[in-house]
Amino acid sequence: MSTPLLAIPVVVPIFGAALSILVGIRRELQRLVTIAALSVSVVVSIILLIRVDEHGHLVANSGGWSAPLGIALVVDRFAAIMLVVSTVVLLIVAIYAIGQAGEERERVSFHPLYLVLASGVSASFVTGDLFNLFVAFEMMLAASYVLITLGGRPDQVHAGMTYVVISLVASTLFITSLALLYAATGTVNMADLADRLADIDPALRHGFSIMLLIVFGIKAGLFPLFFWLPDSYPTAPGPVTAIFAGLLTKVGVYAIIRTQTLMFPPGEGGANWGDDVLLWVAAATMIVGVIGAIAQDDMKRILAFHIISQIGYMIMGLGLFTVVGVAAAVFYVIHHIVVKTALFLVAGLVDHRAGSSRLSSVGGLVRSAPVIAALFAVPALSLAGLPPFSGFLAKFALVDAGLSQGSSAIVAVALAVGLFTLFSMTKIWTGAFWGGAETEPERDPQTSDRFGGPPLMVLTTLSLVAISISFSIWAGPIHELSQRAAEDLLNPARYIRAVLGEAAP
């Protein structure tokens, strides 16, 4: 199946960004462009998901050059799922940002940058070419560099510096691995790479596997490489942090899952030590992330540390390398994107309402702003994995997959970390929502006295929370979909055949 529709989620936001710069003086027009471009992406992504689920992989060759020569755009079920979730979240957060009073509205560059970011995210999901993935990452990152330092405040510059330098190191490593991969195989097309990597020396292949794992692990925030994340994310403006937390790390996770399953499948060639490494990394990521979260006092920083521990769960699913495991990872990723973004949007609301996101200077919100409290409670309980919510289903699927594989150690870690997650969520709850309002002499003047927050902010947060609840209502179909996606992922031959045509083995 070939279709030019694949390019739409990449091309439309980029053109939207250009248009957005042109209409920069008129803020209303900019907003209109952002919402229109992202809405088109959402619709097209949903169409793509439906078609992929019916017909299997969709491939488009840019410029009409056939696969190994030109840049192939490939969408399989996993990519389509990610596209739908990410574009929906991007659209919702864009509306949230519009609803938020503040500096954002005054900055001409916010909307164009946001669209470039959206385009980069979509491009990372759609591309079937490793070098193109690098370009997509750079698009996304370049936009994120500016977004994270948009205000130019001292803490932003400080955090932005860490973020930019770390990302650049990762990018340099990415180019290095690309160069070595090209030298070894003579291609950068992922399907072609998968094909040719099977023939090279296993030791070399392990090396490449680890190199790419490190490159994407930095972006995803895996265990030894996560340290930059909690320092840099929380300083960005609220909606930006939400998008970074929800999406950017998950793009890294996507790249890990894509490359590890497609190019370095376990089994033949004896790469089976690789999945053990992944499980160890996953366990360490979970533990360190959650312990880091417990030590923090700022709501946003607690949530930022939780990103790390949650990444561990996704990698655990991948590390099991079974259909149920990877399916659980896919489910976990989409659940996490929605829930995490919702939590950061709530943090933005708290910040707006109480004038601070520091737990010691916020309190009593359950009485003064019950809407915010309710909006926090649902995704927080979901993140911790309590029964009726999507987080429970995602964790249950993971635990089930782990037990069926006989990896009880990682399951024990996952369950214990879930408990600690609940603990630090209660810490936010008691700190920000229950009493203790004036335990600390507040240095932050309580500026805003509106109920809950601006209606647009509350509504968008509510819609994300509603989506996360709908995940548990339609858990059956969604889980079946991720099951099919996982089967695709673990059968790289399908991907290779779709891209290279019938000629490929």
Binding site: V157, A179, S361
Partner: protein, 145 residues
């Protein structure tokens, strides 16, 4: 891949890594630049032996004797990206210098606070150290640094 280019790549990587580990921001930025050059050079050399004709004009026999254009195109893309991002990094470094009049990289504020809270071992930690910015979108930031 010629030995000279391999050596140059190695030196660039080594020098870049060393500079990256310094405490001064300017050195870090130069280090990033060197690392980027090293990676780009590696990309160019991954195309095979140097010295083959780049343009198909019949001077060489088989297609294999022409130099591979793809890594050069990739390197070009990578150079443009590295250039743009380095420019941004320099601007950020300048802004950082404007703020602090010093290009030393500081420890993270929150990390210091957490560390200090442990030392004090009490719920009321350093009172003077919080962030006084009330709304994150208010232009006047925190003057704590």
């Amino acid at each position: 891949m010629s030995l000279a280019l391999a050596a140059v790549t190695g030196i660039l990587f080594a020098a870049g890594t060393w500079l990256l580990l310094q405490r001064r921001l300017t050195r870090i930025i130069i280090g990033i630049g060197l690392l980027g050059h090293g990676a780009n050079l590696l990309l160019v050399t991954s195309g095979g032996r140097a010295g083959n004709p780049p343009v198909i004009d019949g001077s060489a026999g088989s297609p294999a004797e022409y130099s591979d254009p793809l890594p050069q195109a990739l390197a070009l893309t990578a150079i443009v990206i590295t250039f743009g991002v380095t420019a941004f990094l320099l601007a950020l470094g300048y802004r950082s210098w404007q703020i602090s009049r010093d290009d030393k990289v500081e420890d993270d504020l929150e990390d210091r606070m957490v560390a200090r809270r442990n030392e004090l071992d009490g719920p009321e930690g350093p009172v003077d150290d919080g962030d006084p910015d009330t709304n994150e979108f208010e232009a006047e930031g925190d003057p704590q640094r």
